[in-house]
């Protein structure tokens, strides 16, 4: 459930690589329990910004806090407060379901007892009790994805970053995955998501669209469609992004 309690704050954030400005004066706030869509063309500067928000890279100037922690000085606390999942990297294929949970739980410093409890909870919820000893590579893609999301939440992070999480799955599995996202948000987890599926942008509480390193628009999907006189988010996106200089 969306609240008015800020969980990510970004103020006048700049990131430069030599003479190239990848993030050009970003300003936004994300609230606890919100599903926040972070869209932009390839090359618009999304990945650069996400790396900063995850504590993997430092801004050139400006301020940002994640779950109250500063991106310059408290990157370890940030990493403990967030979960991360992408289509490209999620789970270790040659480890079993159980081994993956234990591995990620261990990385986040959870006790053995806590990992054991969490594992049972998680497998019950997904109906995967019989698959705990199966290798990830033997699971269907849809299951891997649901499991990867659950594991990104195993240490009860305040925020979860999803970087194009639904690429390549069938439309029914994609919707089941979004259902999981809604459930997590309802429990107070903040969800920060990037996607190239514009219909998914409409499932977000608010959406920002980056063009050439700047946030060109930020609002609810309905307000964006009204503002740009567009029928769909796809139309909004194309109207904003087609004149970009850096969209390759």
């Amino acid at each position: 459930m969306k609240t008015r309690e800020p969980i990510i704050t970004v103020s006048h954030l700049f990131k430069k690589f030599g003479s190239f400005t990848a993030n050009d004066d970003l300003n936004f706030t994300v609230y606890k329990g919100e599903i926040f869509g972070f869209l932009g063309a390839n090359g618009a500067g999304k990945t650069t910004a996400i790396k900063i928000l995850c504590g993997l890279s430092k801004p050139t100037s400006g301020e940002a806090t994640i779950a109250g922690f500063d991106v310059y000085t408290q990157t370890n606390q940030i990493k403990n407060s967030i979960g991360y999942m992408s289509q490209k990297f999620s789970l270790y294929e040659d480890l079993t379901v159980y081994e993956n949970i234990r591995f990620f739980g261990g990385i986040y410093g959870m006790t053995r007892k806590h990992i054991k409890e969490k594992t049972e909870q998680l497998l019950n919820k997904l109906g995967l009790q019989d698959s705990a000893k199966k290798l990830i590579k033997d699971l269907p893609l849809g299951w891997r994805q649901k499991l990867a999301f659950s594991i990104a939440l195993v240490h009860d992070p305040k925020i979860v970053f999803l970087d194009e999480p639904t690429g390549g799955v069938d439309p029914i599995t994609r919707r089941q995955f979004w259902n999981q996202i809604y459930e997590a948000a309802a429990e107070g987890v903040t969800v920060f998501v990037t996607t190239h599926y514009m219909d998914e942008a409409e499932y977000c509480d608010r959406v920002s669209i980056m063009v050439d390193g700047r946030i060109a628009a930020l609002d609810t999907p309905q307000n964006l469609k009204d503002t740009f006189h567009a029928e769909s988010m796809n139309e909004v996106f194309i109207k904003l992004a087609r004149n970009a200089v850096n969209n390759e």
């Binding site: 690429g167 069938d170 029914i172 999907p221 796809n234 996106f237 992004a241």
Partner: protein, 304 residues
Amino acid sequence: MNTVVAENISKSYNKIPALNNINFSVDKGEIFGFIGPDGAGKTSLFRILVTLLLPDEGKASVVGLDVVKDYKKIRKQVGYMPGKFSLYQDLTVEENLTFFATIFSTTIEENYHLIKDIYSQIEPFKDRRAGALSGGMKQKLALSCALIHKPEVLFLDEPTTGVDAVSRKEFWEMLKSLKSAGITIVVSTPYMDEASLCDRVALIQNGNILKIDKPEMITANFGKKLLALRSSNIHKLLSDLGNYQYCDSVFPFGQYVHYTAKENQMNEGELEKYLLSSGHEHLEMKMIEPNIEDCFMSLMNQTA
């Protein structure tokens, strides 16, 4: 003449079936799309058609040549763009293109007219190494390399995956101009909305073709009434519709929910009464035409 024909093609890996008795044909000059998720079998099928993989069963021909017997001849007449970027990362843009032209005993100059629209966009970077290109530029270079020997047929395996909406739109415009140059195009994509850009599509899932037709015919043959609904609480709307006794399917679609009723049980008045009594506010209901994604999910449910 059919440019590509597949008859009863099957393929398994360690007894796990990847393709199940696949049959289709592609007309000359057509844009034919395979629409389906990862693991549907699209890449296996493409690899069989471009002679990089042998089928376990069945026959296939490309430009009238057999994919097993005549593989050497086929390779001269098809262009293939694999899903994974597979140009030489350490060669420059121009070196890659020259390399592919030379392999096929031609030159960039000879077929420049074919690639001009696409290649001219990356030509300013012709001295850059391919590995240092952005995603969109790699895609354009790969397409140029697949075209440089003037193939009869182009096989493009997921050319737009992971590409943003603007670049995807541009890519499809390039394909249209290649089609008007007389090239037959077989393309695969996981994006359902790209189906409408093909002349005909095959919907594919778990190694089975669910349907082959013109996209507008697939949606026209949906066979059920489709209702789009929204209310101030979409999650409650989804579960209330799912629990409704006449519900056949209910799926979220952006800010709306798409609903179909069991056979001949669509009664909007009754449904509205039910939803209002369940406490829905700002309820909006309208009959709509299905899109390809509606059809795909309906076909998935029929075969499941």
